[in-house]
């Protein structure tokens, strides 16, 4: 007999969601996190898109520590001197569910505590070292020489899953699987934020930025969103680039982003309160590792189930959804007393039927576009030239739009065939 039905390693959104689901179905579950309190080391902000939590925590948005409801979305193309922004503010955002900005330290603690009050045993401040095996099957976890047994282990360790990799439960991370995320939290009075973004106190803004202007052609995307009394902003930098060129420093890139005039004005006079760096999973469908085996399942970032592509990061929603699906699978496995790979392969099927894999599949290869030149460089420079020239008054007669475009293409060294090619790719991927 195992000591627990399920041991969940990691109390991020994926692990805590799994534990909440398991405990509320009377499963005997242990939730372990290396941080104390859980979540205190998790990168401190994010927009939680979608409404998956509703399934396991009804009315979560009224109880959880959320910052603002996203009512305004932006995409910005930044060039050296200009920014071309598309902002969408829609009453329709109030009817469906967009997302909430959350501060992770508070939010993750809320979820972990929910798991505990649902009946899970929560142990924080302990790092799980390894999986325990017997006859090729995972039978629990190892920590300081002790084996703690469980019928099923759910690995929810996040983007750098040491236990999963070191124990051979998943393949190692490749460069193209991950990017580096840098994030700052800048404190500002609530009223200032409302004023700068045209919001009321409960409304929030979330924006993504193409950063084609960066020195040495570094590939990176920027993001910015509003919390109640702070702004979270940061960059996601392609790992390949950082590896290839050791003169590129991630903090330099962050500085170039925050110093850009249109970003600097949004955070002006704010006080930097947190600065952190973290791996971002960006692999997508093509780089999903195997996510289950004899006696174990992998969820959330650890399973490559995040989605980031130089223009946006989504991961918490997939983490939560995958945690719930793994929990359902573990509950079914217990009913049939079968914890074999075959039994747990139901998890993979559930994933494939869900939006988690469908999103990843539908946007398969989108990184080619979003990391690509068109989004980051060509379009922004073209738009800048065309639009700025349209509005600049320099005494000469106004030119016709097509003429402006042609001139801009020439100046930016863009061939029509390139534009067509890149445009085609973009439409196909999206």
């Amino acid at each position: 007999m195992s000591e627990f039905d399920v041991i969940v390693v990691g109390a991020g959104p994926a692990g805590s969601s799994a534990a909440i689901k398991l405990a509320s179905e009377k499963m005997n579950v242990l939730l372990v996190d290396r941080a104390d309190p859980p979540g205190s080391k998790n990168i401190s902000g994010g927009v939680l898109w979608g409404n998956d939590l509703e399934k396991i925590v009804p009315n979560w948005n009224k109880m959880a520590p959320v910052e603002r409801y996203i009512t305004s979305k932006g995409v910005g193309f930044l060039t050296k001197d200009s920014s071309i922004d598309v902002n969408i503010k829609s009453r329709k955002f109030l009817q469906g569910v967009t997302g909430y900005s959350v501060l992770r330290v508070k939010f993750d603690q809320f979820l972990a505590k929910r798991a505990e009050s649902a009946g899970a045993m929560l142990v924080s401040g302990v790092t799980v070292e390894n999986l325990a095996f017997k006859d090729g099957k995972v039978i629990g976890v190892v920590q300081e020489g002790d084996t703690i047994t469980a019928d099923t282990v759910i690995l929810a360790e996040g983007a750098n899953p040491r236990v999963a990799i070191d124990s051979g439960a998943r393949r190692p991370i490749a460069d193209q699987d991950v990017a580096i995320g840098i994030k700052e939290v800048v404190k500002l009075p609530e009223a200032t934020i409302n004023e700068r973004f045209g919001l009321t106190s409960k409304e929030g803004f979330a924006g993504e930025y193409a950063l084609g202007f960066l020195e040495d052609g570094v590939e990176a995307g920027g993001f910015l969103y509003t919390n109640r009394e702070s702004i979270s902003l940061g960059v996601v930098i392609n790992m390949g680039h950082l590896r290839a060129d050791d003169k590129t420093y991630s903090f330099d890139i962050m500085d170039q982003f925050t110093d850009h005039p249109s970003i600097a004005s949004l955070i002006e006079n704010g006080k930097l309160s947190e600065y952190s760096a973290h791996l971002v999973v960006e692999g997508g469908y093509n780089s999903f590792p195997k996510q289950y085996g004899n006696g174990y399942m992998i969820v959330g970032d650890a399973a490559g189930l995040s989605f980031s592509n130089g223009l946006m990061i989504q991961g918490m929603n997939y983490a939560i959804a995958s945690g719930i699906l793994a929990a359902e699978t573990a509950i079914e496995a217990k009913k049939s007393s079968d914890f074999s790979e075959k039994s747990l392969s139901r998890y993979k099927e559930k994933l494939m039927e869900s939006f988690v894999a469908k999103d990843a599949y539908n946007f398969k290869g989108i990184e080619e576009v979003t990391w690509g030149k068109l989004a980051h460089k060509i379009m922004p420079s073209l738009m800048e030239d065309v639009l700025v020239n349209m509005f600049l008054t320099d005494g000469t007669p106004k030119k016709h739009l097509t003429e402006l475009i042609r001139k801009a293409m020439k100046e930016n060294n863009v061939k029509s065939s390139d534009l067509l090619m890149e445009g085609y790719k973009m439409i196909r991927r999206m």
């Binding site: 242990l30 372990v32 104390d36 309190p37 205190s40 045993m121 142990v123 924080s124 401040g125 302990v126 799980v128 976890v141 920590q143 300081e144 002790d146 703690i148």
Partner: protein
């Protein structure tokens, strides 16, 4: 003969997250996460070392509201044998005098105790009164600012540390030692021990259990009156880098900030 060891601990707000409310002049701890008082982690570690060497039982004792339970479980997870929470509405508002009195009463209730380990001071109000106060009420010997302890047949040999040097004292048990912050490397809890600690739970006592009347403690029996608190204005650091090849500039900056006096 197994030693009966007690570690007293207070759960304090994480120092970096506490600020003085400019309006009420009280400490605003609402945004802070809590931690085991840092010096008490060293006190517990020292007790664990003493237990490992001489054998015995460690009881962790805290007088706080029940929010402290997970922290007491953490102490058991690190190797203490059990934890007692002394929790009673009547102690609210107690200053160090009734606090020491109530803790001493709980220790007496445990029975014959050989060594009580306290932290030298807390990180939130830092009076350093409670260790010595408990010694007084227990009529026990005291060694303060201790970095290490040996036991020898009814005596505690404690090394005390000061800026000027160290002093080794030999005092009879029962003894109270107050342990220096950072004097050792506190171990971490293991998963096995922590699971066991959570299952074992924490023993909860109230004042009645330890034989103390409610009117012996609380605000009314606290001689300290906080007249006012003076917040220091926060100064933002400017953070300018001056390298050694610009000594003149460095001297200028020091002078401007009145850190050194200018010469002719």
């Amino acid at each position: 003969m197994a030693l009966e060891l007690v570690v007293i601990t207070k759960i304090v707000p994480d120092g970096s997250e506490v600020f003085i409310d400019p309006v009420n002049l009280t400490l605003n701890r609402s945004l802070a996460t809590n931690v085991i008082n840092p010096a008490d982690e060293n006190a517990l570690e020292l007790a664990l070392q003493v237990k490992a060497r001489y054998g015995g039982r460690i009881t962790v004792l805290s007088m706080t509201p029940p929010f402290a339970i997970p922290y007491l479980e953490e102490c058991v997870g690190r190797g203490a044998d059990r934890a007692i929470l002394l929790s009673d509405k009547a102690v609210a508002g107690s200053d160090t005098y009734p606090t020491s009195l109530a803790i001493a009463a709980a220790i007496k209730h445990i029975g014959k105790v050989d060594i009580v380990f306290a932290g030298e001071k807390t990180s939130d109000s830092s009076t350093g009164h409670v260790g010595p106060g408990v010694a007084e009420f227990l009529d026990a010997e005291l060694a303060s600012y201790v970095s290490s302890v040996e036991y020898d047949d009814g005596y505690v040999i404690a090394t005390r540390e000061f800026e000027e040097g160290t002093e080794v004292v030999r005092i009879p048990t029962p003894a109270v030692v107050t342990v220096l912050t950072n004097s050792n490397n506190p171990r971490k809890a293991s998963l096995r021990r922590k699971i066991d600690a959570i299952r074992q739970g924490v023993i909860v006592w109230d004042l009645k259990e330890v034989g103390l009347p409610p009117d012996a403690v609380g605000l009314r029996n606290s001689p300290t009156i906080v007249k006012r608190m003076i917040p220091f204005p926060r100064r933002d650091r400017k953070g300018e880098k001056i390298t050694t090849d610009n000594i003149a500039k460095l001297v200028d900056v020091f002078e401007q900030n009145k850190l050194i006096k200018g010469g002719e």
